[in-house]
């Protein structure tokens, strides 16, 4: 084993770097990043106060579980909303098509923060929705649904013209074409992006803290306030989110790779 083979990827794709090489290189990258962070705090001359934050670990866990719950339920509904929006977009009834179009453009074109305020102070008030968590789930489902709709739409449009001709030639009805040809192929090609969107949903739900929904971020902010500390609780916060998003992003990568091999 030469030093070169420890740190450099070989030119041929068939010879992946050894486990040792990958571990060593990963450790170096992580170390370099940590050093930067340390240096930054060293310059700040910051007095760490971990013990007081540690006492609130149950509160962190509660917030983390709330975020997990809100995200999971929002995810299910955002898929529903996204699928319905996509179907509307494909409808031949033009008002429905435009409705879906306007919805997607409005949501994708405005910041989530603005949407949260408008939904919370205007729509939720008017509709008399009392439960904050319900409001939060509605907001996230509507927000994420627009992105999911866009992903599904791209997947559907990616199904080749020759496939549609083939389905027609076989004698499939429009519904059968959608059910047996378009949907499975579109879903398959959308999977990596959908996994990515799931990770986004989890991160974006942190903004719900501004309407006092007691999720992970709000709990961390409260701990900061209780303990008069400024940064400490943000570290567990980052790690808590990573614990959710890293596996999902990993899954997205795997799906992407598998799709590449299949076609």
């Amino acid at each position: 084993m030469t030093p070169r083979s420890l740190f450099f990827d070989s030119e041929s794709a068939s010879k992946p770097p050894s486990a040792l090489a990958r571990a060593a290189s990963f450790a170096i990258a992580l170390l370099a990043l940590s050093l930067c962070l340390f240096a930054a705090f060293y310059v700040l001359q910051y007095e760490w106060n971990w013990s007081s934050v540690f006492r609130y670990k149950a509160k962190f866990l509660k917030g983390w579980l709330a975020t997990l719950g809100i995200s999971s339920i929002s995810l299910i509904f955002s898929f529903l909303v996204g699928a319905i929006a996509t179907l509307c977009y494909r409808s031949r009834f033009l008002p429905l098509k435009y409705l879906a179009n306007i919805y997607v453009e409005l949501i994708r074109g405005t910041p989530l923060l603005v949407q949260i305020y408008i939904f919370f102070y205007v729509i939720a008030n008017a509709a008399d929705i009392q439960n904050r968590y319900l409001v939060g789930i509605c907001i996230m489902a509507i927000f994420s649904g627009a992105y999911i709709s866009e992903i599904l739409r791209a997947g559907i449009e990616g199904v080749g013209r020759s496939q549609l001709l083939s389905a027609k030639a076989i004698g499939f009805s429009e519904y059968q074409t959608f059910r047996y040809v378009i949907a499975p192929q579109a879903l398959r090609s959308s999977l990596p992006a959908l996994a990515g969107q799931t990770a986004n949903l989890i991160k974006d739900s942190s903004l719900l803290s501004i309407i006092a929904i007691s999720e992970f971020t709000l709990n961390a902010q409260e701990v900061n306030a209780f303990t008069y500390s400024s940064f400490e609780s943000f570290f567990p916060l980052a790690i808590g989110y990573l614990a959710l998003t890293l596996p999902i992003m990993r899954l997205s990568r795997i799906l992407e790779k598998r799709l590449r091999f299949e076609t």
């Binding site: 020759s162 083939s166 076989i170 059968q176 047996y180």
Partner: protein, 243 residues
């Protein structure tokens, strides 16, 4: 089979694939479409199969207009089979499902009957051992045979084949052409786009040569190939025969 194209024009955006195309053929069992690449053979077949509607003009098969309404065209497509030049199999299904699914979903077979029928026909094309492979795992020639099996499985009256031997080796070509001849014997109507002049001459009743979106020449197969009238046909055929 009788075919009639009356002043058919087919445009794809700027591109004019068929340009004021007229063709009239009566009493043919097997019609071969020949001609240079990009001439419009595939377009003609797609129109005949009711997969696309012409920009203008009318197309009749056996005296009836190919349905102008979508339900009519759907009913027509159920009675016809198509083998595409690029096979167009469904990549997410294995060979067996590609053949069996239309039987079950379109032609009213029970699930087990559709599988049984599909296995029989795959067997005929020597594909039994490959039946659980997806199109990406099959060779070009195997895909082509699956595509032919898929088109023949529902036992259609009329079959449109777009260069059905383009991906086959000579042995397989001979076998597929044999199978096509058996279809002719079984009184099926065929329209086939092909570059196999020998086969066209031997098996087809009528030949139409299409180039640059126009009909160049049509007539009984032997006559067109042995005694072509148009200079364009002569040029095309001499190019075919010189290699």
């Amino acid at each position: 089979m009788n075919l009639r194209f009356e002043k058919v024009t087919m445009r794809y955006g700027q591109q004019c694939a068929l340009d004021d195309f007229s063709l009239s053929i009566d009493d043919a069992r097997c019609i071969a479409l020949i001609g240079p690449s990009g001439g419009g053979k595939s377009t003609t077949l797609r129109l005949l199969a009711g997969l696309e509607t012409p920009s203008s003009g009318s197309i009749q098969i056996n005296g009836t207009e190919i349905g102008s309404s979508e339900p009519e065209r759907l009913a027509y497509r159920k009675r016809t089979g198509v083998v595409f030049q690029a096979f167009n199999l469904f990549p997410h299904f294995d060979a067996l499902t590609n053949v069996a699914l239309p039987l079950e979903k379109v032609h009213g077979y029970s699930h087990s009957a559709s599988i049984e029928k599909a296995e029989t026909i795959l067997e005929q094309f020597q594909l039994s051992e490959h039946r659980f492979k997806k199109p990406a795992e099959l060779s070009g020639g195997q895909n082509q045979r699956v595509a032919i099996a898929r088109a023949l499985a529902p036992d259609p009256d009329t079959i449109f084949l777009d260069e059905p031997t383009s991906a086959l080796d000579p042995e397989m070509t001979a076998e597929v052409l044999d199978a096509i001849e058996r279809l002719i014997d079984a009184k099926k109507d065929l329209v086939i786009a092909t570059h196999q002049m020998g086969f066209a001459k031997h098996a087809a009743n009528q030949i139409a040569l299409i180039a640059e979106g126009k009909l160049v020449e049509t007539g009984p197969a032997a006559q067109v190939i042995e005694n072509p009238q148009s200079p364009r046909t002569q040029k095309f055929l001499s190019a075919c025969l010189s290699f």
